[in-house]
Symmetry: C2
Subunit: 217 residues, 2 copies
């Protein structure tokens, strides 16, 4: 489906409001007011409120998919470099598109209420992401740089889960690390840096060869 400029603007406003208040708590009148359009325009362009959020997922899923393909073309680097690049890229991606990410988290919490279209888009995207990560790990395993037993789905879940958790408990994070008085940009930078170093360490510890790895193989 192709969307014109006006439709994309409506989608963008809806995304921001859905992220902040949730789908049900956001009225079409909220959206039309923020987007400076008439209430009837949402139905006119998308058909219904449900179709609007479907369009949102359609557009953003396509963008993320394209970005994933890009990442997969970063060859000529060592497996460990590629792992670090993938971790950094994923953290950057989520922080850049926090609103959409927030909407995804909300929708994931109601698997039943969700339209099949959204479910399929999300599952597809997550699987694509997992395959990319697996291919990098397997490469390192073939070269004998990584240990033979790596639970990639769980590592990926840990990565995403941690970033999500941090994002949805921002103020708690700032309290714990005593950075409440920093600007919002500085707080985010703190979180991003912390996440990147944290996961560089975790991935290193979880995929580097174990002492007995050469013996058992």
């Amino acid at each position: 489906m192709e969307y014109n400029q006006k439709q994309l603007q409506i989608i963008s406003v809806a995304e921001r409001l859905f992220a902040a208040k949730g789908f049900s708590a956001t009225s079409i009148r909220d959206i039309s007011q923020e987007a400076d359009i008439n209430v009837s325009m949402v139905s006119y362009y998308f058909g219904s409120k449900d179709k609007l959020i479907e369009a949102l997922f359609e557009v953003r899923a396509r963008e993320f998919g394209a970005r994933l393909d890009e990442l997969l073309r970063d060859l000529g680097l060592s497996p460990m470099q590629r792992v670090n690049l993938m971790v950094d890229g994923m953290i950057n991606r989520i922080f850049e598109k926090q609103c959409f990410h927030n909407v995804v988290l909300r929708e994931q919490l109601s698997p039943d209420r969700r339209t099949p279209i959204i479910s399929e888009l999300l599952t597809e995207l997550k699987l694509k992401n997992l395959r990319a990560m697996e291919s990098i790990i397997h490469e390192g395993q073939k070269l004998g740089i990584f240990r033979s037993e790596v639970d990639v789905p769980m590592l990926s879940t840990t990565l995403y889960g941690t970033v999500n958790q941090l994002l949805s408990t921002k103020s708690y994070y700032c309290t714990v690390y005593g950075i409440q008085d920093l600007s919002e940009e500085e707080q985010e930078a703190h979180m991003i840096a912390k996440l990147k170093s944290h996961f560089k360490k975790i991935f290193q510890e979880m995929i580097k060869p174990e002492l007995n790895d050469s013996i058992t193989s």
Copy 2:
């Protein structure tokens, strides 16, 4: 605040519906129908829908707090045993109270819309949890069993985030591990076992002394 049997039943029904559909998408008529009461009873007992969810958080926060205190009394064990016990206990706790946990996740996503009462209860609970974890780690560090540099808040965030992520993407998890045809109980058992072994490994790798730890100290 004390609540009678009827109130606790309403809270329990509301909890289940809030978890499944979200606060805004759940109407008082939904709740009263499921709880087999008159619509006016919610206002009669709690005052309003907002006060109802506050009561829910009040009750559950108290329960969780009490359970945390219990956990802290498990002395006479080695620090590593206590870490494992804490990880297992936390995973069990979340899986047991999935509904409430789901509601917490939803509320965390709208920090602005939330009433201060809920925010404070959640922050308090999270801090209490963090302090418990820190005390165990510090004990291990004093004994020289754990490395000196452990980022406890990040480890805790990773633990919670991963469990959350897994719970909110259950069907994706089952697809990845090919256990869609198992019963729901078996699927949950699979997830719990996987989580526990995963985090035993992560914690081990992240807190055991590094090779150069004795040199730098």
